[in-house]
């Protein structure tokens, strides 16, 4: 029964924090359905509602409205059964400081009903797989941030969860360690692990996720594969011009240029979505110069998730 159900499904899921006088809507009517084996990303700036969503799906935040199901089970009605089927890597280091690296894995397995023998084997296997074997008997207190992160992921996998949750797994981690973690996560995906990742790094979502929901103010703004999301712009190139002075005259002029699909203004920046790059940039610079505007900076690049976010919200993305 459980295998037929979607690993994660939400219906109008909603969370409001606060008391009567002061309330904050953290998640506002979330509808998601994640497929088995899928690597799914929740992408959005800080405060978009990503962690609250993970909290509700993993039973530590109780929803104000709507419903959420893990493998067909309602998270509110059956929290213990839901917890048995999930593995969670939270944002902060939640390793057991009183135990060794190996014991962190072993006891986690025992908590989840894995036999003593199997827990031992899993602990050894995972330490090997995550290249932590040398540190097996070290106290976790002494681990660096990157190693601790790897151990947290290993720990979440001891009981072979149906769904793996990763809440901002690479925030505050150096770039090299981040690339290593991406490798580990890509391998897990290949092995068929259903995963829900939250991140505020556009590049991370683009690299790892099959599908992404872009979240802002607790609402899904767009949902699709990174490729689909970028295609919604209808442009192959995004040109940005930074103008010294008032660029409003240029906006009108730019719309008339052949190959331009849309123009947006963001302060002193004029952002032009074009179906082709040849000639458009130079025409824009010529037009600006003709109006007596000074172009302080010009750039041209293929659309990224960042530009998708920009065009959806009309504001700069803050990582």
């Amino acid at each position: 029964m459980a295998s037929a159900a979607s690993p994660i499904r939400t219906e109008a899921l909603r969370k409001v924090y606060g008391s009567r006088n002061e309330t904050v809507v953290a998640v506002d009517g979330l509808d998601l359905e994640i497929r088995s084996g899928e690597f799914f990303g929740l992408l959005g700036p800080n405060g978009a509602g990503k962690s609250t969503t993970i909290g509700m799906l993993t039973t530590t935040v109780s929803p104000t409205g709507g419903r959420a199901f893990i493998a067909g089970m309602d998270v509110r009605a059956h929290p213990a059964a839901v917890k048995r089927r999930i593995g969670v890597v939270s944002q902060s280091n939640t390793l057991d400081r009183s135990l060794t690296v190996w014991e962190n894995l072993y006891y986690h397995g025992r908590f989840f009903g894995v036999s003593r023998k199997r827990s031992r084997t899993r602990a050894d296997e995972l330490l090997e797989q995550f290249q932590l074997s040398e540190r097996a008997s070290a106290m976790v207190f002494h681990l660096s941030g990157g190693l601790a992160q790897r151990l947290m992921i290993a720990r979440a996998l001891v009981h072979e969860p149906e769904v793996l949750f990763l809440d901002e797994p690479t925030s505050g981690i150096d770039p090299q360690t981040r690339i290593n973690l991406w490798g580990i996560l890509t391998d897990l995906h290949r092995a068929g692990q259903t995963t829900l990742l939250t991140t505020h790094y556009m590049e991370e979502a683009d690299t790892l996720c099959e599908r992404i929901a872009i979240l802002d103010d607790g609402k899904v703004l767009a949902l699709g594969s990174p490729q689909e999301l970028k295609q919604t712009l209808g442009a192959d190139t995004v040109i940005g011009l930074t103008i010294d002075g008032d660029p409003s005259a240029l906006v009108a002029e730019a719309e008339a240029i052949d190959g331009v699909r849309a123009v947006e203004r963001d302060g002193q920046i004029v952002r032009v979505f074009a179906t082709r790059s040849e000639g458009v940039l130079s025409k824009l610079v010529v037009a600006a110069t003709g109006m007596g505007l000074h172009v302080a900076d010009a750039s041209s690049h293929p659309p990224s998730l960042e530009t998708v976010f920009l065009s959806l919200t009309g504001r700069e993305y803050r990582e």
């Binding site: 530590t60 969670v88 902060s92 009183s98 135990l99 014991e103 908590f111 009903g113």
Partner: protein, 266 residues
Amino acid sequence: MKAQAETFLALLARDVRVLRRQLGQFLIRTIMQPLLFVFVFAYVFPKIGQGFQGGSGGVSFTTVLVPGLIAVAINFQGIQAVALPLVQEFSFSKEIEDRVLAPIPVWMVGLEKIAAGAVQSLLAAGVVFPIVFLVHAPGAAPSVHIHDVPLFIPALLFACLLAAALGLFIGTVIDPRKITLLFAVVVIPLTFLGCIYYPWARLTPIPWLKYFVLINPLVYMSEGLRASLTPELPHMPVWAFMLALVGGSIGLTFVSLRTFTRRVVT
């Protein structure tokens, strides 16, 4: 149901593993205070002729102290073993976030903490007993033996349970930033007003104090042990302390599991 029991036992096994690793620390924090106490009051005082007598009937002060100091050890360990780690987990180490993801209802995670705390309180009682029994000046030996086993065992076990439940309650309601006040505001008043150094019945000359201390759970722990270890000393009626120990354990467990759940599930 079986799966949940397994998880509960695995959580306990983890706590026992940690206790074994930190046994030295456990012994030092358990032994130090009662050892120094009996050293000064049961050895030094009689030797230098400074008087503390147990009062009427020629009962020595050491006899008064034995059940009292065991009760303090139980109570102190319950707070130390449950409340302090919990305060840490709520503030800088976020370990609690992972522990509540164990596949049992959240209240059972709290119940396991009470169980582990009660075990440590029981161990503390076992460690402290020989010390307070044996350390004394010649001629100042306490008159102690287990007079009433069927009374002693439940009194001891419920004292441990009550101490651990108190620990969970304190750990879930105290603001981590104010943890330094724990000793000044909770531990020390409980101890000095816990009928440790005097039997409750002896407070009759100070009626307001006699009734005021009844809000202190440590009073019932001391009196329960006094009734079963040193019955020649005056003590509270059995029904009174048993009612408080059993009722208090159940009530405080219930309340602390609620405060715990509220604290971890937002």
